[in-house]
Each structure stands twice: as structure tokens, then as C-alpha cells.
């Protein structure tokens, strides 16, 4: 991008303007919603943050790569941008709103660039400044997208952890209440946590309660059988409980053979059986 007039590039011209009018631009930016709403503790903090952004953009412009979002100079402000995005998201600001707020930074910058430059540099300077602000928006969008992915990953992980609590029902009797649709990833987690719990608690009986599983098809039945077999290999007994009438019918209609896996209608029945195995018995006080 070479300028028609002075022979300097637009980026170089913008870099000069950013250096020369750093203070003025930072003061103006600090009053915009993007900074004002995040740095509520005081205007000084907002100005400092605005300075940081001006300096970073000046560095990028000095490097002549105003359209490159991968410039190392930009990495410096990425964490700060991410923090700002977090703060705004918590305040209920949506992604389009936030990018609009970033776009607002453009107006003061363009005004200063237009004002500062002579006729021969103005056109290329404005072009470079626009490209620079476009790059900033792209970086912001990138961070927004990544954060979305991070949140989804984290929640998926949380769901896996939350959905497999191992409950100790009695001495050497443990239970896992399965809730929601079973897929291969969840089955894996259930199996691992259950087997580890059998080792830790020296469990003799493990109860898989599927009251909360809405649907049992051949695949889910396969998962349940795998888990039950693994439990058996460990030397413990596995009981599947909480089989509702419709599910029992589906299993029969699909011709699924649960083999020698013990099943009980309710968790209570399974517990009664487990206690019997352990040689204990619940009796009324009479």
C-alpha cells in the first residue's frame, strides 16, 4: 500500500499519527462505552486501557501489517480483550453488541487521522486506519468464537462429571443413577468411575439405575451390558434397576438378550437384593 503523495505507506502514516496523538485518542476512547462500562472503578483505568490499545495498534502499523490478525504485537492485547469480553458478557452484552462497541472506536481515530494528515497522505492514511480497525474487529470476533468453543467444551465436561455420581448405599453396595441419554463418551466415563469406585470401596454389588434414561435401544443396551460385564470381571455383581414397563417391552421387542445380567424393577428392589447378598436385612421395628 504505497501512498500517491509523499511516498510513505498508509500504515507508516497512521503509525505516526497514533504516536503523535496518543493521548488525545486514548482520552476520547476512554469515554466510549467499550472502556467506560468495563472500567467502572475510575476513568484513569479506562485511559490506561485505551493507551494500551493505541500503543498496540501503533506497533502493528509500524510493522506495516495492518491487515494481518496474526501479528505478534496483537497477542499483547488478546488477554485484555478477552477480559473485557468476559466483563461485558457478564453484564449481559451480546456478541453483536460488543463488536458494535468495538466498531465505535473507529470514528474518533478516523477523525484524528483525517485532521492530522495533509491532503497527499490523507487518502492512504484513512485506508490504512480503516484496515487496522477492521483487523481489530476480526481479532475480537476470533476471541468471541474461541470463548464460545471453550464454554461448550467446559460445559460438556461438567455434564460428564455431574451426570455420574457414585453413591454408596451400604457397606460394599454402590449405585450409579444414570440420567439422560447414554452415548459412547458417557458410557466410558460411567464405566471408568464405577470400576474405580468398586476398587476404592471394595464394593461387592454395583447397581446401575436407569430410571432417568429416557430410551433404551440396542446401542444403549450394548453399553449397559458392557458396563455390567466389566463390573463382573472385577469380581463384583452388577444389577440394573429402574427398568420401566415401556423400556422392558422395548427391550423384549428389539430382541435384546441381556444375558445373565441381573435386573430389578426399582432401585429399592435392587438394594434389597444387594443387602441379601451382603447378608444384611432390613426389618421393621416390630
Amino acid at each position: 500500500m504505497t501512498a500517491v503523495g509523499s511516498g510513505r505507506s498508509g500504515a507508516a502514516v497512521v503509525a505516526e499519527v497514533l504516536d503523535a496523538r496518543r493521548e488525545q485518542l486514548a482520552q476520547q476512547w476512554a469515554d466510549l462505552p467499550l472502556f467506560r462500562t468495563v472500567y467502572t472503578s475510575g476513568r484513569d483505568a479506562a485511559v490506561t486501557a485505551a493507551h494500551r490499545l493505541v500503543d498496540t495498534l501503533a506497533d502493528v502499523a509500524h510493522g506495516e501489517r495492518v491487515e494481518d490478525t496474526t501479528v505478534p504485537a496483537l497477542d499483547r492485547i488478546r488477554p485484555h480483550l478477552a477480559q473485557t469480553i468476559n466483563a461485558r458478557t457478564r453484564a449481559g452484552c451480546s456478541s453483536p453488541q460488543f463488536t458494535a462497541e468495538v466498531a465505535e472506536l473507529k470514528t474518533p481515530l478516523m477523525a484524528i487521522v483525517a485532521q492530522e494528515l495533509t491532503d497527499e497522505d490523507r487518502y492512504s492514511g484513512l485506508l490504512a486506519a480503516a484496515a487496522l480497525m477492521g483487523t481489530l474487529r476480526l481479532v475480537v470476533m476470533e476471541i468471541l468464537l474461541n470463548q464460545g468453543d471453550d464454554i461448550i467444551d467446559r460445559q460438556r465436561q461438567q455434564l460428564l462429571e455431574v451426570s455420574t455420581p457414585i453413591i454408596k448405599l451400604w457397606d460394599r453396595v454402590i449405585a450409579v443413577p444414570l440420567i439422560g441419554t447414554l452415548d459412547s463418551a458417557r458410557t466410558q466415563v460411567v464405566m471408568e468411575t464405577l470400576l474405580d469406585a468398586i476398587v476404592d470401596q471394595h464394593a461387592a454389588v454395583a447397581i446401575l439405575d436407569i430410571t432417568g434414561v429416557p430410551l433404551v435401544d440396542t446401542v444403549v443396551a450394548q453399553y449397559l451390558m458392557k458396563t455390567a460385564m466389566a463390573v463382573r470381571l472385577m469380581g463384583a455383581e452388577c444389577v440394573i434397576s429402574g427398568i420401566r414397563p415401556q423400556i422392558a417391552q422395548t427391550i423384549v421387542q428389539l430382541g435384546i438378550d441381556l444375558g445373565d445380567i441381573k435386573t430389578r424393577a426399582t432401585l429399592a428392589d435392587a438394594l434389597a437384593w444387594a443387602l441379601e447378598q451382603a447378608g444384611a436385612r432390613i426389618a421393621s421395628k416390630e
Partner: protein, 123 residues
């Protein structure tokens, strides 16, 4: 070559694998155990609590050892299988059907009537 010692406790044979299991050791164990079981035994206990990881070959050999011991000696108990090994076996479809399993060696001994402590519930 390392071999896994097989102990004779009355009419019961005990093979306790407490080392890293290599292909050779597993094959040697298979041979030793079947020979000793054929010589006369009422039960076999294979303690694999020391085995942390198995590959497809070892998983197959283990299930074969267990199946052969069951044919020769009747009662065979596999004791102390680790979660990772159990998952590998299940994923390979080797469920050791009809084989007795126990959580620990002492459970296996009492299952064969050799130990004193049967699993007791709270009184």
C-alpha cells in the same frame, strides 16, 4: 526367562501375577498352569492384581488360561482385575462368560472355601 510361580494350597493352585506381564511370561504361565492342573487340582486362582495394562494378545491369553484352567480343574477364579484391564477385555468382547471373578485374593480364597472371612453384612 522369568516364570510366574504357581503355589499349591491343598487342592487349589494359586498363580499370582505380580510383575509386568510379557507375551513370553504369559505363554509360559499358560503351559505351567495347564500342566499342573492336569496333574490334579480342584480349583485354580489367578490373581492378576499386579497387571496394569493388557494388549489384545495378553487379553486373549488370559482368557484362554482361565478357560483352560476351568476345564481341567473345575473352579477357576480370576481375582483382583484392575479397571483398565476389565475395560480392555470388555471392549474386545472377551467377557470370560461362566468364569468366577473376585475382587481380591482373599475373596477368591473364601469363594473356594479356603478363607475364613465370607462377605459379611452389618449385623
Amino acid at each position: 526367562m522369568d516364570r510366574i510361580p504357581i503355589l499349591r494350597l491343598g487342592r487349589v493352585l494359586l498363580a499370582s501375577i505380580q510383575q509386568e506381564l510379557t507375551d513370553d511370561i504369559a505363554l509360559a504361565l499358560q503351559q505351567d498352569l495347564t500342566e499342573m492342573a492336569a496333574a490334579g487340582a480342584d480349583g485354580v486362582i489367578i490373581d492378576i492384581s499386579g497387571v496394569d495394562v493388557v494388549d489384545s494378545f495378553l487379553a486373549r491369553v488370559l482368557s484362554e488360561i482361565a478357560a483352560a484352567a476351568r476345564m481341567l480343574a473345575g473352579e477357576t477364579v480370576v481375582a483382583g482385575m484392575r479397571p483398565s484391564v476389565a475395560i480392555t477385555l470388555v471392549e474386545m468382547g472377551l467377557s470370560l462368560r461362566g468364569l468366577r471373578t473376585a475382587r481380591s485374593l482373599s475373596d477368591a480364597l473364601s469363594a473356594l472355601g479356603l478363607g475364613e472371612a465370607r462377605i459379611q453384612g452389618r449385623s
